[in-house]
């Protein structure tokens, strides 16, 4: 078992997440797909940590999880504020800052 299958799965998860971010129209669904991309990156970090025998990759995954938690908290607060003000969850309706 080499690192390659783990990298392939990691690339697959990241790509599926990217497709979701492009395709999805619901703000929360886009958030979920971003979490999917973060987890794809995490998998390759842990795989390299294992095969290089160095704990740095796992510590980085720990930090990624912390940042993901902070991002989810703030992002969902923004979503609630958006729904309260515009009564919508569609990202196409939140275009007030688009030039």
């Amino acid at each position: 078992m080499t690192v390659v299958p783990y990298l392939a799965l990691s690339a697959l998860l990241f790509t599926i997440g990217t497709i979701g971010v492009i395709v999805k129209k619901n703000v929360i669904a886009v958030f979920l797909c971003i979490e999917l991309m973060l987890n794809g990156a995490n998998l390759s970090l842990v795989a390299f940590s294992r095969f290089l025998g160095h704990p740095g990759g796992q510590v980085t995954v720990f930090f990624v999880m912390v940042v993901a938690a902070a991002e989810a908290a703030v992002g969902l607060a923004v979503t609630i504020a958006l729904y309260r003000n515009r009564k919508t969850l569609n990202i196409d309706d939140a275009d007030i800052m688009k030039w």
Binding site: V23, G53, F62, A72
Partner: protein, 171 residues
Amino acid sequence: METALFYVFGTIAAAAAVAVVAARKVFYSAVSLIVCLAALAALYLLLEAPFIAAVQMIVYAGAIMVLFLFVIMLLDPFSAPILVDKRRYLAALGTALGAMGLVVVVPLVGLYDPGQIPHSAGGPARGALGTTATIGYSIFTDYLLPFEATSALILVAIIGAVVLAQRRPQA
């Protein structure tokens, strides 16, 4: 054994990821993502990272996804009409771009020579690589500054979330 378990949990993770994108309702997307995260935690155990696997289950699949489900329930997507994109070509374009990316990336991964990595032959890594003790020692020595910076980040996120989500008095 490791290979078989990898393919079992890898298939579950990939299928759940597809379900996240394909689901019509956000609630089902969130539940599929929890399945995907659990399968990834199993893969982390295979990669001798028990601490990361436990944190993945407790913090990610536990805390963060519960936060997501709370917000989904609060905003009640079941009563709202399903958000279908009228511009179907955009969805097709996104899928085509993603498939093209995979076609480019996966052969590149195959070209990668794992021989340059010390333990790539599947030999035993250092026994205590992913234990709580090793990770904790690493965090509080080599990664002390980023660790302290995270506490500031979390404080800012807490305050930001409270300020953004609070109901403002009608002026």
